[in-house]
């Protein structure tokens, strides 16, 4: 009985919960049993958000047991570092290189790590680091970041990446066809950043 454990991490307002929800719906549509749980207190207010997504033949606890996450999808560099210990030693990390300093850092009480990506690589896990914001801006719209992130994880799932892509694009196809096209391109560019074959 094999369960896939995906950890999605970021900060309140970045779209972590939405991304996890889309992944969950894609897994459900593929026929898996699915559970998704958030560790998010007052997350809407800029705090840490992590979402645990588990799917497979039969999921018991919604919480990923410590050290058993297969894939980490991180929307922010330091947040990837904060939870990377929850990954298996051979886990895959897909990380947006964005650095978001909270007020306690920007006002000088604490320091932001110099190179969180290097620290992630030092754990020995496979790390795909990319600037999702730059990709989104290149496509003309910063808000496409979430779709870039979902594209990045799409080759690291046990079901075809097209199923995930379709879930995203279908949200726009009828209402706003031009946004369906933009999201499809964002997805492909995200995917190119983190090809499993790389």
């Amino acid at each position: 009985m094999s369960i896939t454990n995906i950890l999605v991490a970021g900060t309140g307002g970045q779209g972590v919960m939405t991304a996890a929800e889309i992944l969950a719906l894609a897994a459900l549509a593929h026929g898996y049993d699915v559970k998704k749980t958030e560790v998010a207190g007052m997350a809407q207010r800029g705090g840490v958000v992590t979402s645990h997504l588990r799917f497979g033949e039969k999921v018991l606890s919604p919480v990923i047991p410590a050290g058993e996450a297969d894939v980490l999808l991180a929307f922010e560099a330091a947040e990837a570092l904060r939870c990377c210990h929850e990954l298996r030693p051979a886990g895959v990390i897909l990380v947006n290189t964005l650095r978001l300093a909270p007020p306690v850092v920007s006002t000088g009480l604490f320091a932001y790590p110099d190179d969180p990506i290097a620290s992630l690589r030092a754990t020995g896990r496979t790390v795909y680091a990319f600037d999702a914001g730059a990709i989104a801006r290149e496509l003309g719209e910063i808000k496409l970041i979430n779709t870039v992130m979902l594209g990045a994880i799409s080759d690291h799932l046990p079901f075809p990446q097209d199923e995930l892509k379709e879930r995203i694009v279908a949200r726009f196809r009828d209402r706003k066809p031009e946004l369906a096209e933009a999201n499809a391109r964002a997805f492909d560019m995200g995917r190119a950043q983190a090809r499993a074959a790389a």
Partner: protein
Amino acid sequence: MTTAVKEAEDRLLLSGNEAVARAAWEAGVKVATSYPGTPATEILEAIALYPNLHAQFSVNEKVAMEVAIGAAMSGVRALCSMKHVGMNVAADAFMTYTLTGTKGGLVIVVADDVGLSSSQNEQDSRYWGRFGHMPMLEPADSQEAYEMTKAAFEISERFATPVILRATTRVCHVKAVAVVGERVEGPKAEFVPEAARWVMVPGNARNRLPLMAARDVALKAFTEETGLNRIDEGSDRRVGFVTSGPVATTLREVFPDAPIFKLGFSCPLPIERLRAFAATVDTLVVAEETEPLIEMEMKAAGIAVRGKEILPRFGELLPHVVGPAVRPLLGIAEPPAPAAPAKLFPRPPTLCPACPHLAVYHTLARLRKKVVIAGDIGCYSLGAGHPWGALDTCVSMGASMGVALGMDKARDEDDRDKAVLAVIGDSTFLHMGMQGLLDITYTGGNVTVLLMDNGTTGMTGGQNHPANGRDLKGAPAPKVDFARLVTALGVAPERVHVVDPYQLPVLDRTLRQEIATPGPSVIITNRPCTLIEAFERHQPYHTDEDACTGCGKCIDIGCPAISVARRETAVRKNGREVELAFARIDTAVCTGCGMCVNVCASEAIVRDETAAKEDCRP
């Protein structure tokens, strides 16, 4: 636990809250009530989307409970949902309604915030079942939340008792697969007068007590036979478990071969079945969130169990907690611990860019030495944090009023160097603040109240209330005028001020004037929450780097859109060294409220003319 996976079209991905709502609708509920509170809020929001029923957020949980009771007295099915602390507010009503017994099915859904994700305490609501002689059901996941909600209505009507469905955050907010059905309409409402039953004066209430005792006996028999209590078999009989709620899934995950007695109907306990189960295992461990309630009742019945001497008394019983506590009983060596998390800066929740509360706390932080600030429950509890540190107490809904009054009355004449302030939000004021303010005016308390009206119940995601002019579904509704309301409660009209909080100098001046004047006063701030429709977004500001002098005053506001671009040490003409902090505004999150423009003497904060685009997020 989730039943066998079926075909895709029957399977929905539902949170526990959504599953309760779906089941209540299918069960024919006619009236559903609540007051918003994490993690229960979405139950009512989800119910409100279904047809053929009335759903409402009441002003508080007690009123919500009474509305549900009135409906149930009339013979229809009713549901009342709330977070754990809401039960304290509602208890006055249901502790008597359990005595009258119900006519239509009444299900009280209480959501315990085990682990304190967004609450002021971690009380265990399972005590209410014992205290109120009410049966209690405890689902483990969405499918069970759905099935048990339906079962709860049947049990409620069969035994003429309110029934409590106790969920926890790890049920309410977990999305899982659930298979659902269709609605069955219930009977029409018909209230049948019966004073001996519905009028609980002592003479009548006394006669109900033996009937409630007889119900207890019937429920004791029921719990011994119901399929809601069941054994999940396991081949390794060295350690068996008794548990309820989502802990069952954790135990099965960590101990795949252990026998588990899973209590779905957990009050009253099926003591004889538990006794029989205990005889089938070498060691029996009770794993319960959070208090040792089952453990104590089993021990009182003479059944040997292990419980809180090996498991924690608070917090969630997650795999990494249960595993190390129980493995020694099995002689299993602890697997090597995963690497410790990286040491990093904290990222506490904070107020949003342009939040009107920023203005209040920025102002209060400047008056810090002159005031004691009694706080309340809402986003504005964050005012206690960095960088404002401008909140001294936070107890319960509406408590800012009473606590401030108590502080004022406790002090002597020579101990009045500080003003006493109470800080409260609009929804909290309507919930339980009005009564406290009435106490302040009635007793002539020297309290200045800051009523921060942001036009919504913000913390729980933006629910409408009686003072924002919209009903649950967003349709126009009667709107309470706070200035007139507090005047009617006895505050002198000249001591009531409505202030635009973005005008920092006006807020500061008004506050200083009111705390210097004896007697009750109310300052109402009137800018909306930035997360609701009423909030107007403007072109963002950015800093003109050439003009910024590094004074850092805009940074002190604590707006998350403003950060330090760079620091420098400068030497003033008088030889003093000063730390300079040059500001940067994140134009992607700035909403152009202009609060920071107020404090910038060098006019370095200017509009950014880049246009925003439409939302293209999935």
